[in-house]
Symmetry: D2
Subunit: 453 residues, 4 copies
C-alpha cells in the first residue's frame, strides 16, 4: 500500500468520526445517494469530503441496476451544468474578457458533475471504482443516450488520471507475480488461455508478453500483447496456440510476431494506449534482442464475413474478384447469389484449391483497403494497426482454421508489418490523407499507397 | 531516462525528419512563434505534433522578455476561446441537452489555448518547460491583468499533471544524491544553508528533512521541510541554524520541531502540497520513531511588522495591549505615536525586560488571531498552518534574534502544534467557520476556540 | 542476469577460445574427467580456468551414476591432501612457528580437492551445480563411507558461500512470481500442496508464507514456513489444509501458527537456516501485525510410532502410562504385548473416549521429553524447535486424523511455543544443559524445566 | 539497516541480558580481553556468543596500541593451532583416511584463532571491525613477523566474506549519495580531489566514475576508477585534473581514459578486485556508450626514479639509452656519473628538446619491460595492468608536469591499452610465461611480445 493511500485512509477515518458526530443520519444512510452527492459538493473540509466520497462509492456499489440507472440520470439532469448561466457568462466574456468571469465560466461547467467525479477519484480505491462505474455506464448509454454527457465528464476525469506520463511498461514472464498472470488468463480476449500450463508455454523461451500498467490500477494490466519469436513472418496461428509446440531456440529467431493484443479495461474505452504499446515493444525488443529485425502482427480480420453477408462490399467489385474462383467451382453453385454462396461456403473451403486461395487473397485485400467506416477502414483491427502506421504485408488464407476463424473471416488472417523506418510516416499519411501503406510483397511490384476514398 | 521519455524522443526525432521534408521553412523558423502555435493545433499526426511542440518550447526559451510578453498576449487574445460560439452552444444546450453539443461546447473552451498547453506538455521535458513558463507568466500578470486567463489555463494543465496521486514522499539525508542536496541548498527559503558542511549538520543525528517529489520533475523537490528532534518544544531558532551545535542523542528526543518549510517551484504556485507534507511527515515519524509524541513548528511571523507599520491593527486594541509596556518605558517615548514607536523600537528590544516580553506575547497572539485577509488570517504562515488544522501553541518573544527576524517581527516566533487527534477537526472548523484552535497553554486556562470575525 | 555472471560468462567464452587453440584435445574431451580436474589445478590464467571449470561441470552432469561414483572416489583418494607432508609441516611448526610454513600447511590441506571445489564454484551456475553434486554425493556416503571426507570439503565450500550475511528474507504471497510459487508447490514436504488453487488458499487473507533465499540460487527458496493467523493456538491441522476453509478476518487474529516448515535444498544439508527463519518470522510479524501476540507451531511427531514399535521407550514407564487406558479397554486386549497392542490400535483410536485422550497426552509428552538420541531429543522435529528455544506448549491428540498422521504418530500433534521473551534463554539452557522448557499449561501447575538425562 | 543485522542485534541484546545474569563480572570487564576471547570459544548458545563477540570488538577498539599488540601476540601464540596434535592426526590419516580424523584435523587447525575471527565477524558491524583490525595488524607485521600467521587466518576470514559473487558494481555520478561522494574525496589516492566543486567536475558530462561495493561495507567503496571520455588516447594528465577544463561533448568521444584508480580498504590488501573492475567497466561502457571503442589508462610510473637512483637498472644498458641525449647536452654534465646526473636533472627537463623526449621514451619503455621483481615487472602499476592483460601502448614524456610527477618519474606517464580482443590472451601469456604485450604503435613496427627474463 503506497504512502499516499495510507495517508488518505487515515484522513478518511478521521472524516468518518467527524461526520458521525456532525450528521449521524447521513452516515446511517437516511439520505438518498443523490442527496449524498449533492451534499459532498458543499463540504469544505478535506476529511469529511473524503469520508463522504467513500460512502458514496460504497452505496453506488451496493445499488441495484435500477438504482444505478436512476443515479446516472440524476447526474445527467440535476447535476448538469447550468447552461443558462454559462451562456450569460460567455456573452459577458465576449464583450469584455475578464479573468474572473472566465474562472466562473469554467467553474459553472466543471463545478458540479465533473467536480463530483474528481472528488470521488480521491479515496485510495476511487480510481478503480470509477473505472468500474464507467464500464457500467457505457453499457447503459446505447439505450439511454441522455447519459452520454455524463460519460463525457467521467471520461475526462479518467483521461487526466491515466495520462501516458505515468504508464509503466513491463515485460511479463514466468517471473511475474501470480496475481498478474491470473489476470492475463482472464483478460486474454483474442486467443483464450486454457490454464496455467498454457500460460507458461506462452511465456517460455521463444515467446514473451508485454503490458502497460498504471499506478492507479496496481497489478492490473491496461493492455497486453503476446509475442512469438520466429524465423519467418508467420502465416498460421496454430503454432502459437498449441501448448505442445516445442520451444524453438530464441537465439535463431529474427522476427517478432504479435499474435494477440488484448485491452483489459472496458472502463477506459477511448483512452488509448495500444498504439504506444506495440511501438514501444518494437523499440524494446530491438534493444534487448538485436538479432530480431522484423516485426509483424498475425491478426484476425474480424469484420470480413459480416461485411460480406450484409452486402457492404460493392456487388460488382466482389463479382469481379470472385469470377475466376466461381468458374473453377462445381457448377451447382452457378445460380446462387454471390453473398449467399460466400456465406454458405466460408466454413468449408478447400485449402488445396489454388483458385480458392487466390480468391481469398484478393477478397481480403479488397475488404481491408476498400471498405470504410467514416474516414477510416471498416475493419476495426485494420483501423488500429494502419492508424499506428503499420503496413499491410500479407494476406494469409487459412491462417486460422479454428471454427471461429473460419466463420468470421473464412480462415483469413493478415500480417501488419511494423517497420520503424516507415511507421511514423505512414501514421501521418494515414491521419492526414487516409493513405494505406501496402507492402510491395503483396502488390507483387512496387510499394503501393492506396488512398481510402 | 524513463522508457516513456525515450519513446517520445524517438517519435519526436522521426517527426523532425517528416517536418523537415514537408515544411522546411517552418523548421528554419521562417514563421513566428505565434504562427507555429496556431499550426500545431492543426496537426493530426503524433510525430510532427511532437516535433512542432518541441520547436515551440525551444523558440519560447530563446525569446526576449518582450517577445515572451507578446507571445502571452497572443495567447490571451487570439488564442482565447470563441465566447460567442460558447454562448450559442450553451443556449442550445439549455433548450435541449444533446451530448454532441456538450462535446462541442467543451471543445470550444478547451480546444485552443488549453489544448496548446496540453500539446506542449508532452515532450520529455515539456512539463519542466511549462513550469518555468508559468514562473515567468506569474511575474507578468500583476502588470498585465489580461494575462490572468492564460494563467488559468496553464495552471489547469499543470494541476492535472501534478495531482497528488503521483507525489513521491522521501526522507532526505546524507545518503541522498548530491544533485538533490545541491538543490536543497539553493531552494532553502527560510533559513539559508551556507554550504555542504552546514547542510550535513542539518541532516545529522538529531535532524532530518522530508520532501515531496513528482515524476514529472525528477530529482527536483517540490517542497521540503526541515525537522529537528528535541526534548522540548523549542522557543529559539538559533540551535537549529548553528553548524557547531553538538548533535544530541536522537533516542532521547520526544518532540519533532518543523523549523523550516520551503516551496521550491514558483511555477506551481496555487497547486498546494504543503498541507499534505507536514501531516504525512508526522505520520511517518510516528511510525519510524515511536518515542516522538509531540509535533510542532517553530515558525516566523512574517507579516507582523508590516501590519503594525501600515496601521492594520485597530489603534485602540493596540493601545490597550501596549499600555503596560509603555508605562514601564522611559518617558521620552510618551508622546510618540504608537505605530512609530513600535517601528522604531522593534530592532532593539530588551529581552530581560519582563514587560517587554509580556507585551510581545500579547501583541503576537493578537496579531495572529485578530487580523484577517478575506476570511482567513492575515499572516501567510498562520494561514497555512491553521488551515492545515494546527493549533497556536506558544508565542516566543526573541525566538529569532537575527537582524531579519528582529526587523520583520520584533524577534517573535510562534509554535504551531500538530496534534493528530485534533488536526482534522481543527481543519474542518477553520474551513467552515474560521475557527482558530488556541492551546490551553497559551490562554492559561482552558482551550479557546477563537472565531475569526 | 547479474553483472558478475555476465562478466564471468564473457571471460569464460574467451577462455574457451584460448583453450581450443592451446589444447584442442582437451576441449574435445579426449581426457578423462579426473584428468581434467587435475589439469584445472595447474592453470594460471583466469579465462582458461573458468572454461575448464565449466567443462568439468558439464561432463560431470552428463556422467552416468557409475562414472560419478568413480569421480567421487578419485576425489577421495588421488585428490586427498598429502597427509605425510602435512604431518611434516606440522612437526616443523611445532618446533618453530614460521608463517611461511603455516601458509604451506594450509595450502597442503586446501590446495587440492578443496581448491577444486572453489574453482568449480566460480562459473555463473557453479554454485547450483555444486549443490546438486552434493545432493548426489550425500546419497552415496552411507554405502561409501570413504566419500565422507569429500563431503567435508564440499560442505566447507558451500558453507562459506551460503553464509547468513547474504540470506534474503521474503514474504511469499499471491504477488510473488509464478516460478517461485511453482517451486513451493513442488518443495512442500510436510503437507502436500495439490495445485495452484490450493496454493492460492494458503496465501490468502488469514495465511501467509515466509522464506529464505540466497543470491547464489536466485528464485529458488532454501527453506519456507507456512503460517496461519488464528484466534487460538490451533490443535487441529485440518483447517489449514482444507481449500474450502472460509478465509477468516486476519484483523481479529491474535496468534500465528507455523503449520509447515520445508527445507528445499538437500545439497545444503547441515548448513542450517531454519532456526533463523522462525525467529525472524516472529519478529517480522510482531512489527507488521502488532495484534498478533502468540506464536506457536502445530507440528507432527514423526518418530513416535517407530519409537513405540522398536521398543525404544522403557517398557515399565510405558506400562505405567498405559495402564488406566488399558483398563478401560475391552478385555480382549488384556493379554496382548503392549507394543503390539499400540501398533495395532494406532490407526483406529476413539476420539470420544476420555481415557484414550488422556493416554495419548501422557504418551506424547513422555516420548518428546524422555527419549534421547545422543544429547538431544530423539524426535527430529522436537530437536529442531527445542534447540531453537521453543517450549512444549500442548500435546494434541487427534490433531492429524489423516492416514499418514494416524499411522506415524497415532494422530498426535504438538504445539511448540515461540515466546520471544524466553526463546534465547531456553536455547542457551538447551544447548548447555539439555534443559527442555515445558509450558505450565501442560504440567497443570508451574513451568517445569525437565533436563534430558 | 538490513533485516539480518536487525535480527542479530535483537539476539545480541538478549545475549547481553543472559550474560549479565550469568557472569556479571565478565560484563563488567573484570577479565582480560584475551580471557574473553578464550571464553567465547567455549560458549554453546548463539545469544551469549554474539554478546561476547560484541564485547570483545568494543574492548579491542578501546585498547591502546600496546594492548592491541599484546592481543595480537596472544593470538599468535596461545591461540595458535596445536601443531603437535595436527601432526599426530595427519600421521594417523596417512595410515588410514578416516573422515572423523579428517574432521578433527580441520577443527584442530580452524577451531581456535580462525574460529575466533569467524565469531567476531557475525555481529552487524563485525566485518567492518575486522577490516579495521587487519589494517592495524598489517601495520605491525613488518616489525613483528610472528604476527604474519595471525594475518593469514584473518585474511582467510575476510576473503570468504568478500568473495566476488556479492560485489556490487555501480556507476558513481552526481546522483550518487553524498556520503559515498564524501568518501571518494577522502579515498582518492592518485590525484587528490580538492573539494565538492572539483568532484562535481570529475563527474560531469565527459567524465565518469565506477566503483565496487560490497554488502558487508555498505556505502563504503572497495575500489574506484575515474574515467574521462576523449577523442584521443590522452598523453597529458592536466586536463583531467583542472576544474576549469570545459566539458566537452561526450557524444563525440570515442575513447575512455582511466586516469585514476584507488583502492579504498587497506584492511582488504591482497583480496583483489582491481583486475575485475577495469574489465567490467570496459564491458559496461561498451554496452552503454557504443561509440566508445578504445580503452586506455593514463598511468603514473611510480617506481622509475627510485629504480634509477638505487641503480636497479643495468648500468651499461642505461648508458646505451642515454648516450644520444647526453651527447646533445651541455658538456659540463660529461663527467657526472649517470645515476647522479639523472637524479639531478629529473625535476628540470626541457620539453622542447627532442633528444630529451627520445631519451625519456626509451628510458620509460626499458624500465617497464626490463626491470623485474620476482617473476613480474618491478613497477607496481605496470604489474597490475600487465597482469590484467593490458598492452603497453605509449610512453608519454612530460605527461605529468606537477612536482610530484617530475620527481618520481621525470614527468613520464604511460598508456596501458585494454583491448578486449586481446586482454584475456595477454593475461594468460603473462601469467604463464611473463610475456608483455607491447603495442606496434610503440615499436614502430609489428607487435612485440617481450618476455620478461
Amino acid at each position: 500500500m503506497s504512502w499516499i493511500n495510507r495517508f488518505i485512509d487515515s484522513v478518511t477515518d478521521k472524516g468518518k468520526e467527524l461526520l458521525q458526530a456532525e450528521d449521524p443520519d447521513r452516515v446511517k444512510g437516511q439520505y438518498s445517494l443523490q442527496e449524498d452527492c449533492s451534499a459532498l459538493l458543499t463540504y469544505r473540509g478535506d476529511a469529511t469530503a473524503l469520508a463522504m466520497a467513500q460512502q458514496i462509492l460504497g452505496r453506488y456499489d451496493n445499488s441495484s441496476a435500477e438504482e444505478k440507472l436512476s443515479f446516472f440520470q440524476y447526474l445527467a439532469t440535476e447535476m448538469s451544468p447550468d447552461f443558462r448561466y454559462v451562456a450569460e457568462l460567455a456573452q459577458k466574456l465576449e464583450q469584455d474578457a475578464d479573468s474572473k468571469d472566465y474562472k466562473q465560466l469554467l467553474a459553472a461547467l466543471n463545478g458540479g458533475r465533473h467536480m463530483l467525479f474528481e472528488l470521488l477519484n480521491i479515496p485510495g480505491s476511487g480510481t478503480q471504482a470509477l473505472v468500474k462505474m464507467r464500464t457500467e455506464l457505457l453499457d447503459l448509454v446505447p439505450k439511454h443516450p441522455e447519459l452520454a454527457s455524463v460519460d463525457i465528464d467521467l471520461k475526462t476525469t479518467l483521461e487526466a488520471w491515466f495520462n501516458r506520463g505515468f504508464l509503466e511498461f513491463r515485460e511479463i514472464d514466468w517471473h511475474t507475480s501470480a496475481d498478474i498472470l491470473e489476470k492475463l488468463i482472464s483478460y486474454e480476449a483474442v486467443h483464450e488461455i486454457q490454464d496455467w500450463a498454457d500460460l507458461k508455454r506462452r511465456l517460455s523461451g521463444d515467446r514473451s508478453c508485454f503490458a502497460f500498467f498504471h499506478p492507479a490500477l496496481p497489478d492490473d494490466p491496461l493492455i497486453f500483447v503476446q509475442v512469438g519469436f520466429t524465423e519467418e513472418i508467420s502465416d498460421r496461428i496454430d503454432p502459437f496456440l498449441n501448448q505442445e509446440q516445442p520451444v524453438s531456440d530464441p537465439a535463431r529467431a529474427n522476427t517478432a510476431i504479435f499474435y494477440s493484443i488484448s485491452n483489459c479495461q472496458t472502463g477506459l474505452r477511448g483512452i488509448s494506449f495500444g498504439n504506444f504499446l506495440i511501438k514501444q515493444v518494437v523499440q524494446h525488443i530491438q534493444k534487448e534482442r538485436p538479432q530480431i529485425t522484423r516485426f509483424s502482427t498475425l491478426s484476425p480480420i474480424p469484420g470480413l464475413n459480416r461485411a460480406v453477408q450484409k452486402g457492404y462490399l460493392a456487388e460488382d467489385e466482389l463479382q469481379q474478384i470472385a469470377t475466376p474462383w466461381l468458374t473453377s467451382l462445381n457448377k451447382r453453385y452457378a445460380d446462387m447469389p454471390l453473398t449467399e454462396l460466400l456465406s454458405e461456403r466460408f466454413e468449408r473451403l478447400d485449402e488445396s484449391h489454388d483458385d480458392t486461395v487466390s480468391f481469398l487473397n484478393e477478397l481480403g485485400l479488397h475488404y481491408l483497403t476498400q471498405l470504410k467506416r467514416g474516414e477510416e477502414p471498416y475493419d476495426p483491427v485494420a483501423r488500429f494497426h494502419l492508424s499506428n502506421g503499420a503496413s499491410i504485408y500479407r494476406i494469409n488464407p487459412f491462417g486460422n482454421r479454428k471454427p471461429h476463424g473460419m466463420k468470421s473471416a473464412a480462415g483469413l488472417m493478415v500480417n501488419y508489418l511494423y517497420d520503424l523506418e516507415r511507421v511514423e510516416m505512414n501514421h501521418e499519411s494515414f491521419k492526414q490523407n487516409g493513405t494505406i501503406d501496402i507492402h510491395p510483397n503483396l502488390t507483387k511490384s512496387k510499394r503501393r499507397l492506396r488512398v481510402l476514398s
